[in-house]
Amino acid sequence: MTYQLATILDDLTTLPQLPAWVTSGRVETPETVAFRSGAALTVLDQLVSDPRYGVPAKLLANRLALRAATATSKLEGRLAREADIRDAYHLTPPGEAWGPDGDLLAFWRAGVRLRVGRTGEIADFVGADVAGEVGVWLDAGQERARTHGPLAVCASVLRAVLDADDRAERTACLLSDVVLARALNWKQVLPVTAQRLTKAALRDLTAEGQGADLAVEGRILESFEESIRLARDLARCAAALRTVAPKLRSKGSAAAVDLFLTEDAVAPSSMLSPRIRGTSIPMTDRAARRFCDRLVELGVARELTGRPTFRLYGIAP
């Protein structure tokens, strides 16, 4: 089928949603976690894989990358806030150092661009220290995914990586995401593992503590639920933006709208002008600012920082 059903987008209630029995109640036994994660992953998989639902895949991945960066910053003991990390990444002029916070977000943003099937590429990316073992971990993970299901694999990959290097939290989380993407046959890595993990949970996991696997799996399940919520929100926001897009008549507005549908934060002064990023369409500084203001006026974008200057915009309902 090469055409798109026009009615689907009109009726946003058709977006798959998580049944209430998944979110209600607490995680108590491995069986309930496994069962609920199955339901959650089905919904997430539908949202991510089916283009008819209009979930902006790159935007979702970038937003999740920011969340993963915030979570891993906590795991690594730096405790940077989401806003700090976003600022560090977006306010660094080209060619200068991002600093630790910006580096972390850059790591995750590059992580979601990795091609899932390329073990060599992934090994190069995570660094020389563990590169030799990446293939082993990923293969073992895939094997285990067939027998134990994707959620159990996330926990076992986390443990394998952290056993080798207890400071490799970001690598552990990324590899767990890669294994998950392979198990579900996703084309793109979605960073969902890190989001809700805590230091204590990981410490228990490596110490083979009682019920540590279950605790970690429960947290990853929560993160699936959050990701579904996020995907649904973004689909709704994207639909709203697409509806008003024809009303925007400034030059290059189509390309600028596309940028808003891929980037979670857009800095008008550097990403829209002098050229819209990724294109050769020129936009003046002033036009860029007016464009963003117009989106806010129409209620499809939001200023993210609350600052009068150095503003960053992202789509909003």
């Binding site: 600022d87 560090a88 306010l91 660094t92 002029p93 200068e96 991002w98 916070d101 600052r307 150095f310």
Partner: protein, 201 residues
């Protein structure tokens, strides 16, 4: 076949051929030659040399880590060692000989001598990066001179980071790889836990 195409490439660029693979040597001699090459490169370099750079001087299939391990095994008992710092390897003398080296005092300008203030500012940047001059002034209670920051930057211990979202968009400062190497840290997580006094910060 792939080896042949790879070898032809440098000729096209006009230089002499650098023989990475050493196909004409027997296995054992080849390995020794690679070890010597790695050792020579590290010896000649004052800064840490990364894995990629070392991989370029040895054969395609050779593991840099294993070569380094073999070199390290040979260096046992020597007053210097091959240390891994900041994503690369570097030769350095063992710390127990610091006194002897200082007594000889022929170090001249290659030492990274710090004044107390420089050290303080460097610590502040390390713990609070990215931080701009205004932020440093908040910590120290006085303006930090641009000269001091320029000196630290000249030693390549700090670099410009993201712009601070304040009027004038001042640069913030972040620490560099050289900083990690100088203080023998693998990452910023190796910084000692700051002891927070009652009213500090």
């Amino acid at each position: 076949m792939t080896a042949a195409t790879r070898k032809r490439k440098p000729v096209d660029e006009g230089g002499t051929v650098f023989d990475r693979e050493l196909d004409d040597l027997p296995q054992e001699l080849r390995w020794r030659e690679w070890m010597r090459r790695v050792e020579a490169v590290l010896f000649a370099s004052a800064t840490p040399v990364g894995r990629d750079d070392l991989a370029r001087i040895v054969g395609q299939g050779a593991s840099v880590e294993m070569l380094i391990d073999d070199i390290q095994a040979e260096l046992i008992g020597r007053p210097y060692e091959l240390a891994q710092v900041a994503g690369g390897w570097v030769f350095r003398t063992k710390t127990q000989f610091a006194e002897a080296i200082k007594a000889a005092a022929a170090l001249g300008e290659q030492t990274l001598a710090f004044t107390e203030m420089e050290m303080g500012v460097l610590c502040a940047i390390a713990y609070h990066q990215p931080i701009d001059r205004a932020g440093l002034a908040d910590i120290f209670g006085k303006e930090i001179s641009r000269d001091l920051l320029a000196r630290l930057r000249y030693k390549d211990l700090i670099a410009s980071g993201p712009r601070s979202p304040r009027p004038g968009a001042p640069h913030t400062f972040v620490t560099t790889e050289t900083f990690l190497a100088t203080f023998d840290l693998q990452s910023l997580r190796d910084l000692p836990e700051p002891e927070l006094g009652g009213e500090s910060i």
